[in-house]
């Protein structure tokens, strides 16, 4: 009986070399020792086959979901994007018609895209800056940080709920708590929801309010920055600002990158709160008509499934471009210490 585990990483080359090699190349966990061959099985090849069967067995539910609920629907929506389809009659091929209409003949779409980009590109950096600033603040105190951490994290759990949207609408209504506080200071703004210029700031405040989740990630990252680095910088005469930019930011850059990527993508998907705050309308001036709301209205209210699918693909392309820019620029500012990942 073979009791010595054969490392899958070393080519065992015994006629079975082909399977083993390819497996070793594809599997990131190549150091894993193989199951010791039982008497009935014939060595490495059989063991490799058993691993493959086990792997796909465990992965089966995920694979069904991946192909049935993600890849398949993506392909279908790509096809639908080039059709006119109302769900009751078969789709009718229109070529690039939907896309042409979107950019040349649909001011509501253009407004929606503009509003969404404004929200994403301003809201996300502000949220992350707040998260980082408050993480630094929390990191510098010794007692009670647990309480503050929990208090600040709470909005992240409930921020997307309908309840909070209802609260937000009331908070920012004319003569509501925010408006009346500002009136005390002599600032007369009125209700924020109906105001074309204030609706987006209101939504940005809502998303910044949920700074807790990235803050927790930053805090965990800050704990891992070696204190020697700060001491060394201090000895070299670096002030707090200098230490922040030359030690904290580089050491945190992988975490900053991770947060920036996920929060940006997440922000594109804003739906429920804006839907509730604007009573499902996206507000009369379209100031809350985020792209997801517009897509929902086209697809599920007007039954223009083809057009809605085309909008969805534009969202995907824009998100992909932004992600690609982030990954591309990451090489120059994201720093992996010692590559010990």
């Amino acid at each position: 009986m073979v009791t010595v585990p054969t490392s899958a990483g070393t080519p065992t080359a015994r006629g079975s070399g082909r399977t083993t090699d390819r497996r070793a190349a594809a599997a990131p966990h190549a150091q894993q020792p193989l199951e010791p061959g039982r008497r009935t099985s014939g060595g490495a090849a059989a063991a490799a086959r058993r691993e493959t069967i086990a792997g796909y067995g465990f992965l089966a539910p995920w694979l069904v979901g991946f192909f049935g609920l993600t890849v398949g629907p993506m392909a279908v929506s790509l096809y639908l994007a080039f059709t006119r389809y109302d769900i009751f009659t078969p789709p009718e091929w229109v070529g690039f018609g939907n896309f042409v209409r979107m950019f040349t003949d649909d001011p509501v779409f253009l407004r929606s895209a503009k509003v969404t980009l404004e929200y994403v590109l301003i809201g996300t950096p502000v949220k992350l800056a707040a998260a980082l600033a408050i993480a630094l603040l929390l990191n510098s105190i010794t007692r009670g940080s647990g309480f503050f951490r929990s208090a600040f994290y709470t909005p992240s759990l409930i921020g997307a709920s309908v309840s909070v949207a209802i609260v937000w609408r009331a908070m920012f209504a004319g003569d509501g708590p925010v408006d009346s506080s500002l009136q005390v200071l002599g600032i007369e703004l009125g209700g924020w929801v109906g105001d074309v210029d204030l609706a987006i700031p209101m939504m940005i405040i809502l998303v910044v309010w949920q700074f807790g989740a990235p803050m927790v990630i930053f805090l965990a990252g800050l704990k891992q920055v070696p204190t020697e680095l700060y001491e060394a910088a201090q000895v070299d005469g670096a002030g707090p600002v200098h230490r922040f930019w030359k030690v904290t930011v580089p050491m945190l850059s992988p975490v900053i990158f991770f947060n920036l990527l996920l929060e940006t993508i997440h922000a594109f998907q804003v739906f429920g709160s804006a839907f509730i705050i604007s009573n499902g309308s996206g507000a009369p001036g379209g100031q809350l008509n985020f792209i997801t709301i517009y897509m929902y209205k086209r697809g599920f209210a007007d039954m223009q499934m083809g057009y809605a699918a085309a909008i969805a693909w534009i969202v995907l392309v824009v998100v992909a471009i932004i992600a690609a820019i982030m990954f591309r620029t990451a090489r120059s500012w994201v720093y992996y210490a010692g590559d010990n990942r």
């Binding site: 009670g144 503050f148 909070v164 209802i166 937000w168 995907l316």
Partner: protein
């Protein structure tokens, strides 16, 4: 420039720190105390601002209907529990507990499905060396970044054709098939940190993957299962878009959709009931958080660090 400075202080620190240590340290400590007080004040103000909307919501539920629109202050003039009584009577002829029960059923099933499917997939990615694992792992991470827009319309068409609209199947099937990559990733990260020696010992004793998964990994996975379970529950409980698209008859509504009904139908006449129902629907989430905050926060933190 930097290189020069690097060398110089190296020499000087030895001389300087010895005589100057006293005043430097004292000045540092005094500044430390002052800044500590400022820090705490800042944090307290911040906490008050952050939690204010929840405090406002709580007091709003105690305001009688006559005060809405007139009393913009925080505290009610004549506190009352009437709003809760009216919430109990319900909306659209259906009592609120019925919506809460629907939400509870959907969220509980979602937890079971999510944990089961993501633990299985997590084990495959973390522990089984199979051909194609690298590609599928990358694909899984890719779905983490995929905006949902491109899949909801075809999914709706599919479930429509399968005659599954107005059931909970469209809301739940994805959970049982591990489509939420966040949870799969959580499991992968956690399983990777379980010492491999345990598996190997079991393997030498003749255990196969199923056995190792069930008797070794799953018991040790409990913290990740609790964290993942709570997140899954809370996110499903709060989910709005899914139920909005798929549920059509009020008796099937989950809480968020029912709340919308309150919000639309009664916003002028019965705002009190709307805020009371809003607060009630947040309570399970807040309770879970109060009980499990440590585990939840640790779960969030590991997500980001090992990405």
């Amino acid at each position: 420039m930097t290189t020069v400075e690097h060398v110089q202080p190296g020499h000087e620190t030895a001389e300087i720190t010895a005589p100057d240590a006293g005043p430097v340290r004292r000045r540092g400590r005094r500044r430390g105390l002052a800044s500590t007080i400022v820090w705490y004040l800042l944090l307290l103000v911040l906490a008050a601002v952050v939690l204010y909307p929840l405090v406002w919501l709580f007091f709003a539920t105690l305001k009688p209907s006559s005060e809405f629109g007139r009393n913009s202050g925080l505290l009610p003039w004549a506190p009352t529990l009437d709003n809760y009584a009216r919430v109990w009577d319900g909306i659209a002829g259906i009592p609120l507990w019925r919506y809460a029960l629907n939400s509870l059923i959907v969220a509980s099933l979602a937890v079971v499905g999510t944990l089961g499917s993501s633990a299985l997939a997590g084990y495959a990615f973390a522990r089984v060396a199979f051909k194609g694992s690298g590609i599928f792992f990358a694909a899984m991470i890719g779905t983490l970044l995929l905006p949902f827009h491109v899949i909801i319309i075809p999914q709706y068409i599919i479930f429509n054709q399968l005659d599954l609209l107005d059931t909970y199947v469209p809301l739940l099937i994805g959970k049982f098939l591990g489509t939420e990559a966040f949870f799969v990733f959580l499991m992968v990260q956690f399983i990777r940190n379980i010492p491999r020696e345990l598996d190997e010992a079991a393997r030498i004793d003749g255990a196969g993957h199923l056995r190792i998964f069930w008797s070794i990994i799953v018991p040790l996975l409990r913290p990740a299962l609790v964290t993942g379970g709570i997140f899954s529950f809370i996110w499903t409980w709060n989910d709005f878009l899914g139920p909005l698209i798929y549920l059509t008859s009020p008796e099937n509504y989950t809480l968020p959709i029912a709340l919308r009904l309150y919000n639309d139908a009664t916003s002028t006449s019965d705002y009190g009931a709307t805020v009371a129902a809003s607060l009630l629907s947040l309570i399970p989430v807040l309770l879970f958080f109060l009980i499990f905050q440590r585990m939840l926060i640790r779960g969030v933190a590991t997500q980001g660090l090992k990405g």
